[in-house]
Symmetry: C2
Subunit: 452 residues, 2 copies
C-alpha cells in the first residue's frame, strides 16, 4: 500500500497520467478509495489532482470507487461533475448505493442527482427512501434476477446472461408469480440440474424472507444465522420488492456493534467514523450521559453526607471507599455487558430471566469469596492486624459484588422487556444504583461491626 502510494505520488508530480491510469485500473475499488484518502487527506477539495485521477478511472471502476467514498468526497465530486459525468456514474451504480449517497446530500445536490436519473431509477430511489430509517427496505436493492417457474434451467441461464451484468448478485435468483415470491433457486442448484429441468421442480419453496419494515438489526442476525448471500425483502402481501446482499448485512453488523460499544461507554451512538466527526459532534455525543451521570451522583452525595459522623469517627474507612465503589462498578459492568451482548446476539431472552439471575448469584458468591479473602488478609497485615477493619472491608466486598452483579444482570433484561434499549438504559442506571448500594452497604456494615 505504502509503496503504491509513493509510486502514484511520484507519477502525479511528473504528470505521467497514462501510467497512473494503467496502474489504477488494475486495483481493487476499495484500495483505490483508500489510496485517494491517503493521497489527499482532508484537502481533497483543494487538490486538482483528485478529480483528475478520478476522471482517469474506467467508468465502471469509477462508479465502484465512488460507492466506497465518504459523504464529503461525494459532495465535492458531484459539484465538479458535468451532468453527463453524473449520469454515467449513476448509470453504473447500484440503486442502493445511490440511495446511500442521496441520504447524505443537501437538497440541491439531491435534486441534481434525481434530475440526472432515468424515470425508472427515480421511481426506485423514491421507493427505498420512503421506507423507515434502519428498516430492511431502506438498505435493500431492487437489482435482483427474477425467474419464472415455467422456465427451463437453460432458459434461466440465458436470462442471467442477459440481465446479470446490472444485478448486484446473480447467485441467488428469485422466482415470482404476479410479483409474489414463490421460490428461490441458486446458481449452484441450476448447475447441478439438467438443462431441461423446470425451475418449479428445482426451486426451494420454503422461503426465508423479511418484511420491508423489519429492523435492519434483525436482518443482520439472519445473515449470521443462515449464511445467505442475499435475503429477499417482501411487502405485507408477500410481493418481492428487493433483496439485501451479504455485504450490506456485514456493514449493518459492524454498525450495530459499534453502536452497542458506544452505548456501553455512555456515548450517544454516532454513525460517522472518529475522524469524520468534528470536535463539536464528539462533544455533543458525550455530554448527555456525562451530565445525567453527574447529576444522578447527587444521590451518592446525599448518602455520604448522612454518614459524615461515622467517617469522622473512623477516618481510615474513607481510604477504602474508592476501592469498594470501583469493585462494585466493575462487577456490575461485567454482568451487564455479558447480558447485553448475549441479548444482542440473540442468545439470551427474557424467559431466561431467573436462570440468568441464579447463575449470576452463584458466580458472585464464588468471585466475592476469593476477593474478600485476598483483601481481608492484605488489610489485616497492612493495618496492624486490625481484624475488625479487615472483616468490615471483606464483608462489604462480598455484599457489594453480589448486589452489583444482580443489578447488572437484571436491569438490562428488564429494560428490554419494557422496550427500552438495554445498552443505553443500563449504563446510567446501573452506575448510579451500584454506587449508591456500595456506599450504603459499606457504611452500614462499618457502623454495625465497628460500633460507631
Amino acid at each position: 500500500m505504502k509503496s503504491l502510494l509513493n509510486k502514484i505520488d511520484g507519477m502525479l508530480k511528473e504528470k505521467k497520467f497514462s501510467q497512473v491510469k494503467n496502474i489504477l485500473s488494475q486495483e481493487n475499488p476499495a484500495d483505490i478509495c483508500a489510496l485517494f484518502e491517503e493521497l489527499f487527506g482532508d484537502d481533497f477539495d483543494e487538490r486538482a489532482e483528485f478529480i483528475i485521477l478520478f476522471r482517469l478511472l474506467p467508468k465502471d471502476l469509477a462508479a465502484e470507487v465512488f460507492a466506497h467514498m465518504k459523504s464529503d468526497m461525494h459532495k465535492h465530486l458531484i459539484s465538479m461533475f458535468t451532468d453527463k459525468e453524473l449520469r454515467e456514474i449513476l448509470d453504473e451504480s447500484f440503486i442502493d448505493d445511490t440511495v446511500d449517497v442521496i441520504e447524505e446530500m443537501p437538497a440541491n445536490v439531491v435534486a441534481r442527482i434525481l434530475k440526472n436519473s432515468t424515470t425508472a431509477e427515480r421511481k426506485a430511489i423514491n421507493q427505498i427512501l420512503n421506507y423507515p430509517k434502519d428498516s430492511a427496505g431502506s438498505i435493500m436493492t431492487i437489482e435482483y434476477v427474477s425467474l419464472h417457474k415455467d422456465m427451463t434451467v437453460s432458459e434461466a441461464f440465458e436470462k442471467i446472461r442477459k440481465v446479470g451484468v446490472n444485478k448486484e448478485t446473480i447467485y441467488t435468483c428469485y422466482v415470482t408469480e404476479n410479483r409474489k415470491l414463490i421460490g428461490v433457486v441458486t446458481v449452484k442448484d441450476l448447475f447441478m440440474a439438467d438443462e431441461d429441468d423446470k425451475i418449479s421442480d428445482i426451486m426451494e419453496t420454503h422461503i426465508i424472507s423479511v418484511d420491508t419494515h423489519e429492523d435492519k438489526e434483525i436482518v443482520g442476525h439472519m445473515f449470521g444465522k443462515y449464511d445467505f448471500l442475499s435475503l429477499p425483502v417482501v411487502d405485507r402481501e408477500k410481493r418481492l420488492v428487493g433483496i439485501v446482499t451479504f455485504d450490506d448485512a456485514m456493514d449493518v453488523i459492524q454498525e450495530e456493534n459499534t453502536e452497542d460499544v458506544e452505548k456501553l461507554a455512555a456515548i450517544t451512538p454516532n454513525e460517522e467514523s472518529y475522524f469524520k466527526t468534528g470536535v463539536f459532534g464528539h462533544a455533543k455525543h458525550r455530554i448527555v450521559w456525562l451530565l445525567v451521570l453527574m447529576v444522578s451522583a447527587t444521590l451518592t452525595q446525599i448518602i455520604i453526607t448522612k454518614y459524615e459522623n461515622a467517617l469522622q469517627a473512623v477516618p481510615t474507612l474513607l481510604a477504602f471507599l474508592p476501592m469498594i465503589m470501583d469493585t462494585g462498578g466493575n462487577s456490575g459492568a461485567q454482568s451487564s455487558t455479558l447480558i447485553i451482548r448475549g441479548m444482542a446476539l440473540n442468545e439470551i431472552h427474557f424467559f431466561d430471566f431467573f436462570r440468568v439471575v441464579f447463575k449470576e448469584f452463584r458466580i458472585s458468591i464464588l468471585v466475592s469469596a476469593i476477593l474478600a479473602v485476598v483483601n481481608g488478609v492484605r488489610i489485616y497485615l497492612m493495618y496492624d492486624q486490625n481484624i475488625l477493619l479487615a472483616a468490615t472491608i471483606s464483608l462489604s466486598i462480598v455484599f457489594t459484588i453480589i448486589v452489583s452483579k444482580l443489578i447488572g444482570a437484571m436491569l438490562p433484561m428488564l429494560a428490554k422487556k419494557v422496550h427500552l434499549d438495554p445498552a443505553i438504559m443500563a449504563t446510567p442506571l446501573i452506575t448510579t444504583l451500584v454506587d449508591s448500594c456500595s456506599i450504603l452497604i459499606y457504611f452500614n456494615i462499618a457502623v454495625a461491626i465497628l460500633h460507631i
Copy 2:
C-alpha cells in the same frame, strides 16, 4: 418458530415420525438446530427422541444441521453414531466444519473421527489443524474450484458442474499453475464471457490473498473492506492452499466484537456463549481483572490517607468525591472506547497519535466547561451560596475530565504500539490512573482554594 415447536412436540408425543420427517426436511438447517435446542434444552443427552429426530433427517441436511450444533451436542451424537453413520456425516461435511468439530473433542473422539475419514480427508484435516490458532489457515477450507488458464469458458462450466456439489463455494473459481495462484474468475465473469473465451483472457490477475499465518482478525477486516464471497489463502511460495468463505469471516467478525466488548468490561475473553459457560468458567473469566483492579486500588487508598487532614477540616469535600471519580472514569472510558473501536475497525492508526490527542483535548475543554458550569451553579444554590466550594468542584471537574480523556486516548494507542492488546491493557491501567489522578486533582485544588 413457537408454533412449529409445538407442532413437532405434539407429533413426537403421538410418535408420528414420518410426519415429523416431512416437516423437518423442508426447514433450514440453522432453524432445525435451534429447534433441537428449544425442544430438548440441556437434557438432550437423556432424551431418546433427540437421536431419533436426527436420524430422520436426509443425510445432506443432517450434515448441515450437525455443523450448526454446539460442541456438547456433537460429543453426544458422535458417541451414539455407528461407524457407518459417522462416515456418512463426515462425507457430507465440509472439511473446515469437521476441523471445527475436532478442535472441541477429546482425544478418543478425535481418533474415531480420523479413523472414519478417507486418507485425503485425514491429510486435509491434519494440514488445517497444524496452522496456528486464530490464523487464516486454521479457518480456511480446501474445498474450492480450481481452473486451468487454458480452459475455455464452457470447459470451466463443465468442471464446475462436475465438482461443484462438494465445494463450499463455486461462485469464485481460482486459476492455478503448478499449484501457484495466478488468477481469479467469478461465475458472473464466466456468464458475461463467450463460451469459447479462454480463462486466461478473462481472469483477474491482480489477486488479493492472505498468507496462511495471517491473523483471522485481519481476514475479517478484508471481507469488510472488499465485499468478497471468498478469499484465497496462500503459503509463502504463493501456492494456493485453501479459501476462507464469507460466512466464516462473518463468524470471525462477531467473535472479535464479542471479545473486544468483554475486554472493555474487564472480562478475560471467552469463546463459549453465556449459557454454555458454567459458573466456575464465568468466575474464572471475571476474577482476574477484579483482583488486579482491587489490588491496584491500593494507590487511591494511599493517596486518600495522605489527605485525611484536609477531609477532617472540610468534611463536605467528601460528599463530592464519588461524583468526581465517576465523571473522570466515564470521560476516560468514552475516549478509550472510541479509540479502541477505531483501531479495531482500522480507522485509527498510531501515526494519528497527535491528531487524536489534540482532538480529545479540544473535546474535553468543551465538555468539561459545560459540566463545570452546570455543577457550579447547582452547588452554589444547594450549599448556601458557597462560591469557594462551587469553584473547587467546578475546577476539579474541568481538570479531571481533561486528564481522563487524555489518558483514555493515549494509553490504548501506546499499548498497541508496544504490541499489547489495547482493549485489555486499557481497562485496568486507565481505571487506576484516572481514579488516582481525579483524587489528586480534587484534593490539591481544594487545599489551594479553601486554604486548608
